[in-house]
């Protein structure tokens, strides 16, 4: 079984006096083909879990299993072939001097694929860009198009699991809808496992079946999307988040 298993995970940055405990004893499981959401405010440690999984946050303790491997200190190439990540800001996640073609052909080359030309065209079709975008540079693309390129790059090694770090928070709502639809379709077509981080409860509610709410590095509650939709959280903090996600409530004026 692949999927993701996280058990008693602690992640920290720095050491000694400067040590910051970003994640504290987090545990959850995501079955293969499921979609799991992590929500919380900035600094709650939700993105740090993704970074620890991918090896970008080296200081951690606990048990992590993903891509069919029990994870240790460093990641193998076969791990990166089955687990990929889409970053938050498509303006920062593409090399400013590399064309779409360079980005995808390098990725495919690193994973040892042959028939790269054909694969690039297929990937661009899969993410709804088409081959006319192949030789463009990032500055010739809109935010949504860039994020599609980033998704194509993540799909290139044909992974089973995608880690999505706020994939639409830098985009306009109409573009967000397109990207979320694309992600929904890709998951259905390729039976992907999603682990999605977002501060937007509506987005996570739309994409995920189960949701973990994080605060100050701890998971305060794991609930099903049905419970969230029914506004039946157990934890006080989740209740607060759900309420403020509905917009501004003028009643607070008197307070």
């Amino acid at each position: 079984m692949s999927g993701i298993v996280i058990k008693d995970l602690d992640v920290w940055f720095g050491s000694g006096r400067d040590r910051v405990d970003a994640v504290r004893s987090a545990s959850f499981e995501v079955a293969q083909g499921d979609s799991f959401g992590l929500v919380g405010e900035s600094g709650s440690g939700k993105s740090t879990i993704l970074r620890a999984l991918t090896g970008l946050a080296p200081d951690w303790r606990g048990k992590m299993q993903a891509g069919g491997e029990l994870l240790g200190k460093s990641r193998t190439r076969s791990f990166y072939k089955s687990v990929q990540m889409v970053f938050q800001d498509p303006y920062a996640s593409l090399h400013p001097r590399h064309s779409v073609d360079q980005v995808l052909s390098e990725t495919l080359g690193l994973h040892g694929f042959s028939g790269i030309d054909k694969r690039i065209v297929n990937l661009l079709d899969d993410v709804g860009l088409g081959s006319s975008f192949r030789f463009r540079y990032p500055h010739q693309l809109s935010g949504g198009q860039r994020q599609r390129v980033a998704i194509a790059r993540a799909l290139a090694p044909e992974p089973q699991t995608l880690l999505l770090d706020e994939p639409t928070s830098a985009l306009d709502v109409s573009v967000q809808a397109e990207i979320l639809n694309l992600l929904t379709d890709l998951r259905a077509a390729r039976n992907l496992t999603y682990l999605m981080v977002s501060h937007d409860l509506a987005v996570v509610g739309h994409m995920c079946e189960r949701i973990a709410v994080m605060r100050n590095g701890e998971i305060v509650e794991i609930m099903s999307v049905g419970d969230m939709r029914a506004m039946q959280p157990v934890h006080e903090y989740t209740k607060q988040l759900l309420e403020s996600s509905r917009g501004y409530v003028r009643a607070e004026l008197s307070a």
Partner: protein, 316 residues
Amino acid sequence: MTNPAASRNQMPESDKPSLRRWLLTDTPASRRQARLASLYQGWLTLKSNKLTMIGFGILVTLVLVAILAPWLAPHDPFAQDLGNRLKPLWTDGFLLGTDSLGRDILSRLIYGSRITLYIVILVALIAPVVGLFVGTVAGYVGGWADMILMRITDIFLAFPRLVLALAFVAALGAGIENAVLAIALTAWPPYARIARAETLTIRQSDYIHAVKLQGAGALRIITRHIWPLCISSLIVRVTLDMAGIILAAAGLGFLGLGAQPPSPEWGAMISEGRKFILDHWWIATMPGLAIFTVSLAFNLLGDGLRDVLDPKDSGE
């Protein structure tokens, strides 16, 4: 690979400036077109700056003069004619006069441009490359490698450039090659510092993280992903520093540690003319003006290049 037929189809048939259109497209159809288009965009930005174009023009002229020296020079730069020594400007076919050995100053300046270019090219090939290598490795690898490489850089930075160059030349022996080597050895540390600083910010960016997640190694990340971004700011710095490098070479020549007589190196020419500066001012002034013009040209070009190449601006 690229399909030439496809790219040709993209070209508008009816429009007259179709090449321009093809180059300005936002939808390049081939790798070649994409490259050429981005070069052309840069050229257009460069072209819009008048001062830059003046600098660029001067440097193109310098290169042409150096290449065509045998045809342009009215006299043999080494031919001594003691009967015609110390002639002032505009006399007997000596446009810029003659020096103390009766050699035509204009011809010497024209041949001297070759030496200047030689110095410029060699230094530009050595110093930034060393700096780029040291800086990016130190910045990316970090830890002990960073410590050691940067302390070495600091040692080089601790000496005034000309003094250090003097020491090198004294150790290696006088001569133009050794002067170039000495200048290059003293010029790289600032580039290493710049490259390291840039690497430290680039290293933290998402696109480097993204390529790490494809299993790319340090060597590939440094050479394919970090270098292209550092190179542009280094080119700008080198261009702006060129004036200083020419002056350093001229300084070494002036002190007799660079080009040796009878070589028409501009600095050495000033040095020779110094003895006569009160009565025959042009002998030292003409090579001085040449140095000034070329230095200025590099500075003007460097300013324009910064607008085009600086990743902070062009990243948008």
